[in-house]
């Protein structure tokens, strides 16, 4: 009678095929080197303006963005990484050891996950031709001891923060900026 061979029911994270998403996966882009090139020109200009204004008034630093354009394919990828790790992390069987190691390596190379990642956002927009055209940039280092200062600087640069003062404070995103003509 043949002895059944234990097999792992989990699968490794799928390879990325999207060309821009691949640039994230190979380390060209990361939160220390976000993709600014694939943001819309207006968003790029808003980022540069905020950096310039903060640097002019803040002797410590020029704020560095931590997230620019992020293709949907990449967001889907990190969601898959997150979900597959949650499924396999408590599996200690030898049959799954290789798969677990591969998923762990993927999980560990990304930024820490404080929650399950979302898939779509203004970071992932494309234009009518399907070309990357991100309309959101995360800029953590704008002085925001009072939120008003961050918003005032953003307004001078025709940017705003759409995700502050959310009904659930947990959903506030204080670093997320998008273009919008500021009333003057």
């Amino acid at each position: 009678m043949p002895v059944p061979v234990a097999t792992c029911t989990y699968t490794k994270v799928a390879d990325i095929t999207d060309p821009v998403a691949k640039l994230y996966e190979d380390g060209t882009y990361s939160n220390t080197k976000p993709d600014i090139e694939h943001l819309t020109p207006v968003t790029q200009a808003g980022l540069a303006c905020i950096q310039q204004k903060v640097a002019a008034t803040n002797c410590y630093m020029t704020p560095q963005p931590t997230s620019g354009y992020r293709p949907t394919a990449y967001q889907t990828h990190i969601l898959e990484v997150y979900d597959k790790w949650q499924l396999i992390k408590d599996d200690n069987t030898s049959a799954c050891a290789e798969t677990k190691a591969a998923i762990q390596k993927e999980f560990n190379k990304h930024s820490r996950f404080a929650r399950r990642p979302g898939v779509t956002s203004n970071h992932s927009q494309v234009d009518a031709q399907g070309n990357p055209a991100g309309e959101a940039v995360d800029i953590p280092f704008v002085p925001d001891d009072t939120n008003a200062s961050a918003d005032a600087i953003a307004c001078q640069c025709d940017m705003y923060r759409p995700l502050i003062n959310m009904p659930d404070p947990k959903d506030n995103d204080l670093v997320h900026y998008q273009p919008r003509t500021c009333p003057r």
Binding site: D26, G27, T28, S30, N31, T32, K33, A55, N58, Y60, M61, T62, P63, Q64, T66, S67, K89, N92, A97, K100, A101, Q104, K105, N108, K109, S111, R112, F113, A114, R115, R116, P117, G118, S121, D138, P140, F141, P143, D144, D145, K170, N172, D173, L174, V175, H176
Partner: protein, 300 residues
């Protein structure tokens, strides 16, 4: 008899189950991180000692982060502020950080987050995670590899801030240890209050002329880790109602050592007026001591 044996067996198993569970819960984590802070030359330096108490090597860990569970979100615990010098990288330069040879530290932002953790990584490990990353952006020498071995205790991890932030000594440390996620509460290395002594001169205001008298505090402070804890004037109170202007030039919440008190008292108070002045000393780990001294305006 059989029933007795069965009862004994069940009792033993019951006791063992709970004692074993207790032992597991109490077991020392494989990695222990101790944190403490100190003021240095107008800056605040937070230092970390990492002890690898398990049987596996360590090449990557974060402070200020804990992961999500099945029922709750995790969080990065360090607040964004104008803390770090600018540049084109989130790697911390040696001017505001220290790492063991072959290691570096960078700010790691969970997505869409205004908070971050500090992630120390060994250079070879970082390169293995990102084999295509641009070498010029990695401020860690290629060689030699310097993975932290089991049994090692290293304390060459530090960050420098322009002001105290106690989140840097009381949050979580997070890492992979083998194939397990490991989250530990950092231990505060300094839990002792500073010793603070205070005297005021003059300690008696007489006669009760109504004049404002400059008061000079004499303060001494000592701490087991922090060479210069932060001094603050906390409050000035009195045992009788004060009029506007009886306390002058006092900047509460700052290291104010120059203020004036009125040499006045109520005619109906035979005990005279007693001002109580309170200062605090807080070390960079957040341990706060207070001291009081009094200035009296006697009745006679």
């Amino acid at each position: 008899m059989k029933k007795l044996k069965l009862f004994a067996a069940i009792s033993t198993a019951f006791v063992c189950f709970f004692s074993c569970a207790y032992a597991f819960a109490q077991a020392d984590p494989a990695v222990k991180v101790t944190a403490w802070g100190m003021h240095q030359g107008g800056w605040v330096v937070y230092k970390y000692q990492v002890k690898n108490l398990g049987t596996l090597p360590l090449d990557d860990f974060s402070i200020g982060f804990y992961p999500p569970t099945a029922t709750a979100d995790g969080a990065a615990e360090l607040n964004v502020g104008p803390y770090y010098p600018g540049g084109t990288s989130l790697w911390l330069p040696p001017s505001v950080s220290q790492s063991p040879a072959g290691w570096g530290v960078y700010l790691d932002f969970p997505e869409e987050s205004a908070t971050f953790s500090l992630r120390w990584v060994e250079g070879g490990h970082y390169r293995s995670m990102w084999p295509g990353a641009r070498e010029s952006e990695i401020p860690i020498a290629q060689n030699p590899p310097n993975i932290m071995p089991p049994g090692a205790s290293w304390d060459q991890f530090s960050v420098t801030l322009p002001r105290p932030d106690y989140a840097y000594v009381q949050g979580h440390a997070y890492m992979f240890y083998g194939d397990k996620e490991l989250t530990v509460l950092m231990e505060k290395g300094d839990t002792t209050l500073p010793t603070l002594t205070l005297s005021l001169s003059p300690a008696t205001l007489s006669p009760p002329s109504g004049n404002l008298v400059p008061i000079i505090p004499a303060i001494t402070v000592n701490d087991d880790y922090d060479p210069s804890p932060e001094i603050k004037l906390e409050s000035i109170t009195a045992n009788e109602p004060l009029a506007d202007g009886d306390i002058q030039d006092a900047q509460f919440g700052t290291d104010d050592r120059s203020f004036s008190l009125a040499a006045k008292r109520a005619d109906t108070n035979p005990a005279g007026r007693t001002y109580t002045v309170t200062y605090s000393a807080t070390d960079a780990s957040g341990n706060k001591a207070t001291a009081n001294a009094t200035v009296t305006v006697p009745y006679n």
